[in-house]
């Protein structure tokens, strides 16, 4: 398989007096998807943000391919795509324009790629309408299209199936499965199990509230 590997070793993080992450350990390799489960407030989002370097742990370390992510944050970020709770789309631009800018800041985007990604998520019909006219599910699909266009090995997803219907949830599962097959890895905070068949490199990590 590939050599990509994201590891968290004994990660501790406090928010004020609250000990959110208490010695968390995880390892995700290329071709694997780690699902973070747990109740609200258990620290799933915090762990995701720590894994991508936005949050700074008080103890422990996150390593990417054997090296601490702190060593060269920009290079590490160039290898990951993060999708938070809210899709990062500007309301006044269309989905297509949003993706042009969002992905374009990171890599040269060819028109055919963009078209293909929009088709994949079923966005042909509404890709040119302003995002403020779209439903929450459509916005989520547009964000997923952007994710696939990033062409990066590491995906960090915070509840990727929010606002999606059953078909949308299958789409998420399919996209992640394709990504894993190409050798990529994913870390996803979820409330329900992802719609992927087990044995496709799925792992689980349960976080608990302190």
């Amino acid at each position: 398989m590939s050599d990509f590997c994201l590891e968290g070793e004994n990660v501790h993080l406090w928010r004020g007096d609250h000990h959110v992450l208490r010695g968390v350990r995880f390892q995700v390799r290329g071709g694997e998807c780690l699902q973070l489960t747990g109740a609200n407030g258990a620290g799933k989002t915090t762990l995701l943000r720590t894994a991508c370097g936005l949050a700074y742990p008080e103890g422990g370390e996150i390593t990417w391919c054997g090296e601490s992510i702190r060593k060269d944050m920009q290079a590490f970020h160039a290898q990951l795509a993060y999708l938070g709770h809210e899709p990062p789309l500007k309301a006044e631009l269309s989905a297509r324009e949003n993706l042009e800018y969002w992905v374009g800041v990171r890599r040269l985007l060819a028109d055919e790629e963009l078209e293909h990604a929009l088709q994949r998520v079923g966005a042909q019909q509404w890709a040119d309408r302003p995002v403020r006219t779209l439903s929450a599910g459509q916005k989520r699909r547009a964000a997923l299209a952007g994710l696939t266009l990033m062409r990066v090995p590491l995906w960090l997803l915070d509840e990727p199936t929010t606002n999606l219907d059953a078909e949308g949830q299958r789409l998420v599962g399919a996209l992640i499965a394709e990504h894993l097959q190409a050798g990529g890895l994913a870390l996803a905070a979820v409330h329900h199990e992802l719609a992927m068949t087990a044995g496709q490199g799925l792992q689980r990590l349960e976080l608990t509230v302190a």
């Binding site: 370097g53 391919c65 050798g183």
Partner: protein, 248 residues
Amino acid sequence: MRDSGTMGTALRPAFAAGGMGGSAVPALAAARLVLARDLKLAFRKRSQLVQPLAFFAIVTTLFPLGVSPELPVLRPMAAGVVWAAALLSSLLALELLFRDDAQDGTLEQYALSGRSLTWLLAAKTAAHWLLTGVPLALMAPLAGLALGAPGAAVPGIVASVAVGTVALSLIGSIGAALTLGIRRSGALLSLLTLPLDIPVLIFGARATELAIGGQAYGVPVQLLAALAVLGLTLAPLAAAAAVRINLE
């Protein structure tokens, strides 16, 4: 940059070469894209751009109403009034700089883009100046004329306000970045930004005053330019640090 030998070479076609050292999009191109996007977005919400200018006009009007309608009384303080009004309007306009992007997660994406956040924020500040500073520089001579300035002063007023607002946008970007997460931060933002703006006010008002008096205003404008250059080198750095802290 890291040695790429450990990467699975079979995966290279699937994942962008932009991951390692050689960026697919160099910093300047990314910055230009951010600038273009901000300009396009502002254009789609044109009405928002008018508000700081209307505020500028209203504040300027307050002084004749509060002091005296006589131009000989107003002319000596015209420069100061124009600049005080410009400072306050630019404060108002700071809302446009980061707030939207912070709320919808765009700023977070910039921080995670693998590009230098400093450059991207500098691009946003440049867009901000084009959208607020330049219109202010074009409106300022009207305020000056209304307060008794002679027509010959117009180029000087435009020049001083145009250069000064560059510094104001840059200094303001620091305050805006610091107060990103704070609700109803208007008063605090003013308290943080206005003391830092004072040198700009002093040099700018002096330049405008000289222009109104028909004298050479080169020296204060150069001082303004020096402040702008200093701001250009330091402000985006400070703003990027503040943004990252607020994203933690």
